[in-house]
Symmetry: C2
Subunit: 600 residues, 2 copies
């Protein structure tokens, strides 16, 4: 197995030099991180990832969770991972000091998650899910709920989940039917079925806390009648003991990848004895959940980025050491060369790097906005919020979709070996494939971007993004070698703007179905433009640094490498928006295609 699963050099470059080139203006609470203190956190995270997560990357895959005697048996190390992450403060890191946290900035948290996920994606989700669920309780729960559930969750003793999906209501949450009936004591009797619940049960923790959507009896139909509940696997009996809360695991799904974490189907309240505790107000569950969902979507993007990164490093390592073939210009009898010397292999590596490092940059940029929402100048916080909202579907989808291609090319670099279990890339390819599905499919992200985010506040978010990009383009103008890239990005922005306008016209003329028919392609286009922006931003930093005096040779090579990948992106990938613009501005083919045309 390849030892290297991510580049700390690149992570720190992206976090400090690109995204964090200016310090956060208002350092609040435990937020007062310096570059040095952040590096210490990253190094500690890497140490844990390398020692505790990476060594069981393959083991967890080869021995997937099994349902045994009513509970889900997972890899024996899960318990140790969870308690260590709890004890050492990783799960509570973003929490206020009152809860043992240190108000870790979102950008640092995401960087840490990147390290964990690149070491072992499945192994990293248990704590991530717990953190997300705990955040929901912290934000919207009563003091009583917080006291009862947060401590063991933050200590890694209890697992947290998000329990949304039902057999007949995946994407269409408004159709969910799990019901909640008010009891005399103010709690609710919960009854229903949930599926695809990540870490919905396992033996690596003492209890599982579901943040579950359900419909209170008599609530309005659709999305406006959904409430959020805490539904534990074991509930307190009021006397200090935990008793069974009538939540049954009915299935553990056998999956293509992501096999180290159990995805479960749950039956809730089969015996009429499942208690749920309302979080916040009735019927506001979906809006609560969606505040966490945005974070979860960034996390999915980061997971995909991390997997693509690990696969890229495995491919890079192989390409450097595997010798085969010769240069086309080599004479007879020349010795075989490392395959990285072959143009086609180099091209595949450039693609993988462009995707993984470009996506990392975008997600860290998003989490920087997340930080600025809390710590930025008061009058700009709303703007940062809009930017984050706009970019979330992009940051979720670009790495997830391109990650399929990227890990596929990681396999390709290995030739036949890549198809075999002897190397990690086939697992990365399988682990990757979930990301365009969970936390909202790509289709949903496209409609979210075009149907909601682009049009919100009369397009203000798009205007703000335009300003952000313009700032980068302006900086690029200072470097003669970047002027062409700057101009190309300007043109690309223009193409995006024209396409957006054309779609607006289509919406007015032909209605919402035509407007959103190709929203997925619009999202793809948007992704290319924003990733190009991030590459230009990286190139600007690289040029700045290369122009400075006394640059170390290794740094020089690093920055020159950045310029090479940026060049690759602008020449090989960004031009793909051209045909997307052509397709998007034509009447949607799907609308002209009757379902009857799909004959047998």
């Amino acid at each position: 197995m390849a030892d290297k699963f991510m580049s700390m050099r690149n992570l720190k470059f992206t976090l400090h030099e690109v995204v964090g080139s200016t310090p956060l203006p208002h350092a609040t609470g435990g937020n007062g991180h310096t570059r040095k203190s952040m590096d210490m956190v990253l190094d500690a995270a890497f140490d844990f990832a390398k020692k505790a997560l990476h060594p069981i990357f393959e083991e967890m895959d080869r021995n997937p969770p099994e349902l045994k005697e009513g509970t889900v048996a997972v890899h024996k190390d899960v318990r140790r991972i969870m308690t260590t992450l709890g004890k050492d403060g990783w799960i509570s890191a973003v929490f206020p000091e009152a809860w043992g946290g240190e108000n870790m900035p979102a950008s640092l948290l995401h960087a840490v998650n990147f390290i964990f996920a690149s070491a072992n994606y499945s192994g990293s989700v248990y704590s991530g899910l717990t953190m997300g669920a705990a955040t929901l309780i912290l934000t919207f729960g009563s003091d009583e709920l917080k006291q009862a559930f947060l401590p063991p969750m933050l200590e890694g003793k209890w697992q947290g989940t998000m329990a949304l999906t039902e057999p007949e209501a995946g994407t269409s949450l408004g159709d969910l039917t799990t019901s909640a009936t008010l009891s005399d004591d103010g709690t609710y009797r919960i009854s229903g079925e949930k599926i695809f619940i990540s870490a919905g049960d396992h033996d690596g923790v003492d209890n599982v806390v579901h943040l579950m959507l359900a419909r209170i009896e008599g609530a309005p139909a659709g999305v406006k009648g959904i409430s959020l509940f805490v539904v534990p696997k074991l509930r307190s009996d009021g006397n200090g003991s935990l008793v069974n809360n009538d939540v049954t695991v009915t299935q553990v799904f056998h999956k293509l990848g992501y096999r180290g974490a159990p995805i479960t189907a749950l039956s809730i309240g089969e015996k009429g004895d499942c208690t749920g505790y309302l979080v916040g107000e009735p019927n506001r569950g979906l809006s609560y959940m969606f505040q966490m969902m945005n974070g979860a979507r960034l996390e999915v993007g980061m997971g995909a980025t991390a997997i693509a990164t690990a696969a890229y490093h495995a491919a890079l390592d192989y390409a450097r050491t595997r010798k085969q073939g010769r240069r086309l210009t080599d004479g007879k009898g020349a010795p075989p060369i490392a395959i990285i010397e072959h143009q086609d292999v180099k091209r595949m590596l450039l693609f993988q790097r462009a995707v993984s490092e470009g996506a990392l940059s975008l997600i860290l940029q998003c989490s920087r906005y997340e930080d600025l929402i809390h710590a930025g100048p008061e009058d700009q916080r709303e703007d940062y919020h809009l930017l984050l909202e706009l970019l979330t579907p992009v940051a979720k989808t670009f790495p997830s979709e391109m990650g399929i291609l990227s890990t596929s090319l990681s396999i390709q670099c290995f030739g036949g070996y890549g198809y075999c279990e002897d190397f990690p890339v086939e697992q990365h390819f399988r682990d990757m494939r979930i990301h365009t599905i969970h936390e909202g499919t790509t289709g949903i992200q496209g409609m979210d971007l075009l149907g909601r985010k682009v049009v919100m506040k009369s397009g203000k978010a798009l205007m703000l993004l335009d300003q952000e990009m313009n700032q980068t383009i302006e900086k690029a103008q200072a470097h003669p070698e970047l002027q062409k890239m700057g101009n190309t990005l300007s043109d690309a922005k223009e193409t995006l703007a024209t396409t957006t306008q054309a779609l607006g016209g289509m919406a007015m003329e032909k209605g919402p179905e035509a407007f959103l028919a190709n929203a997925t392609l619009y999202l793809e286009m948007f992704g290319h433009v924003t990733i190009a922006w991030q590459w230009l931003a990286q190139a600007v930093v690289a040029c700045d640094q290369l122009a400075a005096q006394g640059v170390k040779k290794s740094d020089r090579t690093f920055y020159e490498g950045k310029l090479a990948v940026g060049r690759y992106y602008f020449i090989h990938e960004l031009p793909k928006i051209g045909p997307l613009a052509v397709t998007l501005t034509q009447p949607p083919v799907t609308l002209e295609t009757d379902v009857a045309h799909f004959t047998d």
Copy 2:
């Protein structure tokens, strides 16, 4: 599991109405098939596929081959499949009558293979490999070899393989080191190692016959010193018995997919007791092998096409029956609709169909050229040969590369269910991924296309293809609704021609490394143009039929569907050649990128 794995209606349409719209001019030997007799063959193949291959599609995957006591244990049905295919004449079908065959036309053979592979790809390769190896013996072997090996192979009792790859020589065959030493009796002692040998050993047959490349002692270095041998697992002792021939299975690879067929590593002549029989003349092994390789590459393309087809039908079936969500224009309380009604799902289905049916059409077109090489007018046979040579890398690669995307979208249509083993699409996605690798990676195909096929005979093959496309465009002009598509294909051809010229200029100016640096992208572009051509050809037939009198309603729907998919291809996919042309005509980024730039 979805019952439907292919559309017989579409296969017959493609074979008879599109590719075979004119009968073969010279029907030779058993070649005298009528449409009716071909349909009987196809129906019989389907019957076998449905009853014998499809039911064990998943079983073969879940119980992959294992090395047990020196031999590879495979699914128990493999023996029955092989002997039935032998007994019923499928393995010998393309052979002359003298060998029990019926000179089946290549186009019909490929259609049959499509049926088998869409039912169960792994299950279909055993006989396909045997047929390929037997063809090599028939074409180049001595009478003695034919008598000794062909009967049991054609009866399905002995497995045939192609044994090329070695641990240090995959793509670079010239580096292979397996050696052959002449014995007094005219046979050879073989010694070496082979890896990635499909069906290299298994217990579903009584013997395995390797068509193996090796180097005769004293032969020239490189590709010109490679000879072809028959190396059986068991050899005749001259007294009617079979004895061990010192070929040992050292490993069965555990793979991402394609798990129903064993891929093995072999050690040959460990004890100095392995006999090989020279096929044809010494040092001509690679040229012999490559005559089979072209057929094998078409087969790989067909395998990928078949898998994409099966995945598409599973997704279509699901999309029609799964109800979720509503139209954007539906009022509150409207019932959920079948997800095929959602524009994004429809778009994904159109892509899958465009890829699988477009690829099927191209491969059958290629096999039609194969038929015409033998049965066409004498003075045109060389032209058909050139067309087949030119299109083989395209027909191998387009379905293999696009098939990854297509099966990925099959998964996407299912949402979370697609990621689970409960549905077949995750297996199709895994089975698909081998095809860009085996029988020559995509990188190799790109270099073959641009570096050899395009330039051979001063570009004559390209000129012939241009004529073929012009004929289709001309036919399209007869239908007002196809004129635009015809013009678009003309433009696309022009773009391809301009790009080819620019690359020629680059070759002269900057040498072969620059010329071929992005050969893979050139192949991608070429693929889009040729598949667009096939869709236009299908659209022409559809328009012809729709214009005819008395078209049945079901036929009308079928042909209208063809027009819809063609429209999709021209609006969504063909425009992708634009940015490829941009990238290809710029100085290759990879040449400017030093390998040192890939820093850690």
